[in-house]
Amino acid sequence: MRLRAVLLSVALVAAARSASAEPEDPQCNGAVDVHAVDASTHQPVVAATVRIASELLGTTDETGHFLIADLCPATMTVIVERDDYNAAEAIVTVTATARSSVEIEMRLGGEVIEVHERAPDPPPMQSSTEVSGAALERSRGKSFTAAIAEVPGVTQLKSATGVAKPIIRGQFGRRLLLLVDGVRHRAQEWGLEHAPEVDPFVAEKIRVVRGAGGVRYGSDAIGGVVLVDPAALRREPGYNGELHLIGMSNGRGGSIAGRVQGVPRSLPKLSTMLEGSIKRSAALEAPDYALDNTGAFEWSAGATVDYDLTSSDYKLSYRRYQAELGVCACLRAHSIDDFLAQARAGTPVGADEFSADFAIDRPKQQVVHDTVIARGSWVRDKLGRFTSTFAFQHDLRREYDVVRNADEAGAQYNFRLNSYELDGVFEHNPIHLSEHWHLRGAFGLSGLAQAHHYAGLHLVPPFTSLGAGAYAIERLIGHDVELELGARYDLTSRTAEIEKIDFQRLVRSGQLADGACGADIEPAKCSARYHTFTASSGALWRFAEPWSIRGELSVAQRAPNTDEQYLNGAAPTFPVLALGKPDLGPETTYGTSLTLGYAGTAVKAEASGFVNRIDDYIYFAPAIDDLGQPIIDTTIRGAFPRFTTRPIPALFFGADGGISAAPIKQLDLGAQVSLVRARNRATDGPLVLVPADHFRGSITYRPPDRWPLSNSFVTVTGTYVARKRGYDPAADFIPPPAGYFALGAEIGTETCTLGNKVKIALQGANLTNARYRDYTSLMRYYADEPGWQLWLRASVFFDSRKEQ
């Protein structure tokens, strides 16, 4: 918002000058490129005003630049000012035609309000979207994944618990990184039914980077990266906070969430934050029947303290997320006959008995996720900033199946993953190569230790893992052009303890050579070590304001996950027998993407195309015997198709983009599209769970403010999801569901009560109560998606420093 205002004012000033000056005068074609930088850090000084004598010319842009054009030959003094800096000036001599440039160093003022704004991170070379403000508020009370589901290129992989995980450009789970407060979320992300254990209320801003972001974030960021930024800490004495109340019609539930931040007057360097949320809902209802047992109970709590000394900063935070999620009683994955009978029936077996009550019975999931983050950062004037983060994450997941003796049986699948990470990043100060070019960059080291404990029905083994990584990334920044190069190396070492019976099963199935894990197989200790390399290059060219084009080329290697190596048992989600491949090698992605952007004042648009060729893509698919027939295992629960993980050559490509336009002040029009295609290059067959084409359009009307209401709006949204084209009957079991159209709407406003901002909104989804199934929802095999749904949200924002 502020950036747009700055750009706008710069544009206006520039327009005014070219109109008032006499451009025809050949004597007055001189120009001066002013570059304002911080004297100690050499970071650009953004939004500083530039003037010559008393004539105000404009403000510097996000790179600290401002161009003064149409100058007549003379010697003049250029003055640059910003509240928190001492004014600085430079004497420039303008010649008739040549363009000169001047770098003006600015020093922080003596007794000023401390402004902690660092230069923003340079824009990623991939296409990216930020979800914050109103867009994020719209998703309050829904799942974390719903918060980013409206971003181009993002779709939801919904599970039978009603929660979902994000899919970006056809990749999810293992190939998609989620970073919360800069720390990678470590959980059982491999499971299709395992939604991210993140409370969406934590986020003040969510950034979605589409495309490989492996160098900075970890080599397995093949599909993209989701960065969850918690609320910015308060820096001035006083307190502020917010409280949200949300009620939902379908599920007859609601959420309460709140956050309080405070800085004591006696200790102005100490910033504290407390936050928490609680959500309870009954089972959801599809148009014709209840989705029995999909009730949910979730809560989360967190505390953060931060001590900020000007040249260093120390932060400690703890968060817990806990949830009990009922799995739809309509799920039938215990045998292929039951599964297919249900999938083909149209209406779930026993739907007459289904009820939308609050009780959460078996089958259900219980999850707990704890995160502790300790972070210190130190600024050295002449060098840059060093940041070190230690993070501990504890992820506990218990899954309860329908069993005999349920009161005493406990959970059938118990996963506990403890992750310890330590990383250090050094961001050097911008290095000025010339007046027009400077270099920004960072070097980082990271270490990871993980221990996974497992108890329950045979599925995945316990393991311990150690990893280390090193990376460097540099960006050459010019006025209109930015170039980036990065490289990363990771070493992963892992030892899994496989029970004798599981080991023998892998050997008998041909997935593992006998003796591959030594002579002692009680249990077999299978070790693997991977060296993976990632490199990327990117370029950004603002070829004609407000147009820009970005491109990147990358090669990334991802080490296989433990489940891909050692999965061994009946998968809880699908009626298949799953077998991992312990000796899998890393998969290698060669990716490229091109993004065209337009950032005008009335129209903003971005369109992006991508191609990812993945060699040795680790794919979970039906096992085929020597004669080309699917392998069926006969067990005491009937016949099961055997699925194995194995490397295949794959190709993903597609396009996504969005446009928002304001033809008149009160009206916003938006449109988005997401297209992904994926092929097995060996067979030219389709891959499973690659989203169907998504199209979305919205119209928002913002009436003029009328006291006491402000920022009122009405939005109507339409989403069309096409039928997925192409499917593999052996791997997908039933054909993709028909396409569907979902209608949504929202009305909201803002007011002030006792000096506190209050926001109220009513939102509706699937307003036509359409019966539909979604290709990337696991529910599609069992039941329809939920019917119409209303959310009523009320939020109060308070601050000890009342707005004037």
Binding site: A409, G410, A455, S509
Partner: protein, 192 residues
């Protein structure tokens, strides 16, 4: 230095972690073996046939022994075991404890109209509905396939099992019932 400190720290912490609980192996739901025992009503030696999957699901497929009966009437008892445990765990008792939620179904050509076996349930749960752990069987000359299925009915209260459940399963297929299959095996029946 940092690195060695880190690895030391990591080692300490890893060592401190516990198991996620929920029982050491939690195999109470696993069934490896289904045992049919035909006791002649007039007395004599019982004839047994097993379906046994010694390594559980996956790997080696289970095998079913043939059923060879002399013509006559028998009391058939069905048993379920988990032989991955030592000594083998008797699952039949658990089924009997929750008989309102379990149903053993007998299908296949062996119990069809022209088949060699005539089957009738010999036990009832608390609601007066068949369970199938004990049955009466009449054998006459012929051959056919007998599929024995242990169905775990949905955990709804009141129980979903009804008077017509067996009939519906035979008519429309077991997969059209609610709940899930805990064990199923097909045997070849020969009555000379």
């Amino acid at each position: 230095m940092t690195l060695s400190k880190t690895s030391m720290l990591a080692t300490l912490m890893l060592a401190a972690c516990g198991s996620p609980g929920g029982g050491a192996s939690n195999d109470e739901e696993v069934i490896t073996t289904l045992v049919l025992s035909f006791a002649p009503t007039g007395g004599g030696v019982s004839i047994t046939a097993e379906f046994d999957d010694p390594d559980g699901e996956g790997g080696q497929a289970g095998t079913a022994q043939p059923i060879n009966l002399a013509a006559g009437s028998y009391t058939l008892t069905v048993g379920f075991q988990n032989r991955l445990e030592a000594p083998p765990e008797e699952i039949t008792d658990e089924v009997r404890d929750e008989q309102e939620f379990h149903l053993v179904l007998f299908t296949g050509t062996a119990v069809a109209a022209a088949g060699p076996l005539t089957h009738s349930y010999g036990d009832q749960d608390a609601n007066g509905l068949p369970v199938g752990l004990t049955s009466s069987v009449m054998a006459r000359a012929g051959t056919g396939q007998l599929t024995v299925t242990l169905r775990h009915m949905p955990p709804e209260e009141p129980p979903v099992k009804a008077a017509d459940t067996v009939m519906l399963a035979k008519q429309n297929g077991i997969e059209t019932l609610g709940g899930s299959t805990d064990a199923t095996a097909t045997f070849l029946v020969t009555v000379p």
